[in-house]
């Protein structure tokens, strides 16, 4: 393989030069490739779609983790759905106040390969004593789970493939039952400019389950086509309306080092372009 062409869209796409191929395999569930690219470092792709690169992963992982964590202010338990590369886990582990972290990943091979070939993503987080890894279908897990968490983070692939069930109303409803009353759920929700349907669908499917719903965003270079959106659901509207001072204070006392996230970005990320505002008024 000399080049890797993403096949997300028929008439447009990004292509990477493969400077070194580390791994290629069709696992039980998905087609996994990990390679080196001069500009983006190690790149992982699943089923023709870029999942993460060493160079820009910090934007995605910091935003999907620290925004809800600091907005909540007292997270003790976290459930991560998917996230096999370990990036979310690494960011969650930075918070010393978090006591229990459960990660449910469908494909153990993704975890193993990422530990081996993308070690900087998890950066040792899989060895953290607070972490429990469950190999299971995330939808199945929340359906049968009798625990409740302060925060649920769904770090899934796109809705075509095994992650399909992680975009259903059933799944969101089951997640809601696994949330404490003040809890927050956030999900990876695609690049809205390219796939507005995904945002609309999530807005519709969150509606029956969460009193307060919204999206926030960040631009991740290798998720091409504009800003990436994250869905936000909670029964506590205050969590999304924290003042800059509050977030600033929590950020300082958490003593975490970030490269994209900061309190100003936190607040600004909830400002959405008009086309998303209109599409999500459902």
């Amino acid at each position: 393989m000399k080049h890797y062409a993403e096949t997300l869209y028929d008439s447009y796409g990004q292509e990477f030069r493969v400077d070194r191929l580390y791994f290629e395999n069709k696992t039980d569930h998905q087609h996994l490739v990990i390679f080196e690219n001069a500009l983006f470092g190690r790149v992982m792709a699943l089923d023709g779609v870029i999942q993460t690169t060493e160079a820009d992963e910090f934007i995605y992982h910091e935003m999907l983790t620290h925004v809800p964590l600091l907005a909540h202010g007292n997270v003790k338990s976290v459930l991560i759905i998917g996230g096999g590369d370990g990036g979310i886990l690494r960011e969650v582990c930075k918070h010393t106040g978090v006591e229990e972290i459960t990660q449910v990943e469908i494909d153990d091979q993704v975890v193993e390969m990422c530990k081996e070939y993308l070690p900087n993503h998890s950066a040792g987080a899989y060895d953290d004593p607070r972490v429990e890894i469950v190999i299971d279908d995330g939808a199945n897990y929340v359906k049968n789970c009798d625990r409740q968490f302060d925060l649920i983070i769904s770090d899934s692939t796109d809705p075509i493939g095994p992650a399909e069930v992680l975009f259903t109303e059933d799944f969101y409803g089951n997640c809601k039952s696994c949330l404490k009353p003040e809890g927050i759920m956030v999900t990876q929700n695609g690049v809205a400019y390219m796939q507005l349907d995904e945002v609309v669908n999530t807005a519709l499917r969150f509606k029956p389950h969460f009193a307060d719903r919204s999206f926030y965003s960040a631009a991740v270079p290798t998720y091409i086509g504009g800003i990436m959106t994250f869905a936000w659901g909670s029964d506590n509207p205050a969590a999304r309306q924290q003042t800059l001072e509050t977030i600033e204070e929590r950020y300082q006392s958490a003593e975490i080092k970030t490269r994209y996230y900061n309190p100003a970005i936190h607040l600004a990320s909830f400002a959405l372009p008009q086309y998303i505002v209109e599409a999500t008024q459902v």
Binding site: M1, L8, D10, H31, G48, I160, M194, D197
Partner: protein, 396 residues
Amino acid sequence: MKRLTVKTIREAAPYQQLVAEHGSPLLVLDCDLLTQQYKKLSSALPGVELFYAIKSLPHPAAIDTLHQLGASFDIATSGEIELLREQRAEPRHTIHTHPIKRDRDIRDALRFGCTTFVIDNIYELEKFVDYRHRVGLLVRVSFPNPDSPVDLSRKFGCRPDEVEMLLQKANALGIHVKGLSFHAGSQCPDASNHVRAIEACGEIIHRYNEQSSRSMAILDIGGGFPVEYVGDTAEVDIDRFCAPIRAALATLPEHLHIIAEPGRYLSAPSMEAVSRVMGKARRGEQVWYYLDDGLYGSYSGQLFDHALYPLTVFSDHDEREAAVIAGPTCDSIDVIAEDVELPSLNIGDLVIGHQMGAYTSASATDFNLFERATIVAINRDTESDSATNLLHLAYR
């Protein structure tokens, strides 16, 4: 081409060697011949991107050989996708051409990375609503061909006058139609139906691009490029066959990307069947020879594909007698050739079938649970096995 050729016993040697090594029945795939066919068609259709129709011979060595030559691939099922995946084919260079698909088929193709699909009706179009941001569609148009033994416009394809309605509907649903496709019929005696279809599609595309703010950029001229079977008098000269197609394509706007889906022309001449006489009987005036392969096996194309394959037997004697060559199963329909004049064959002798690459093993069955013929690929450029090279010389 003649139905039957008798060669000397000595000339059977390379086939005997293969049977000694791999058993019988065999299908011998010569990757060099496949390469030659690909190159001939490429130069007869300059500027046309060739998507090998995997269905004609879905074999890894064939895929690998064509992939290395830079061919693209026409897929119709998830099974074919798996085969391409194993051969590391580039998903960007594939199109899914089955006009009728289940949701799962669409998802499998998208997960593989194929984003081009073919539709020919409203119901099929509507299946793409959820995927509209990811795909580009071709509308398949029907151009019936009474001169083709395998008319591919009866079961699939919309009428030319239905295209506009489908395009409007697609636009309303936000689904991008990027071009048209047709299949002029397989094993076409001449290119007149291709030319008619190219002209009609060119006209539809032209009108649409004038009137609409969107544009169609692809014309897929399908397959249908012929090879010689028994009864065909003239040898197929592919360059001559394609001359009218080239002329018709030359009148189209330059920006139009032209693609084709050849199956038979590439695969048919690349494979020969090697079978053995497993029994004989004298019934009335005729001698019956029972081979270890037949109509339910590699010769299934005689039924499904309406093809008659040239046969070769080996004998050093001049006497001939009326004979029947039959397949091994219990069914009386399983007869490969009747009323042929054969030299006397012994049990264990070989019978060779030629031009047997396309729609042969692809449509073979497991009836009676007779083993299917083993496909042996020779002249793969990864091998330099002296025995297979010898055989290669003996073929010529």
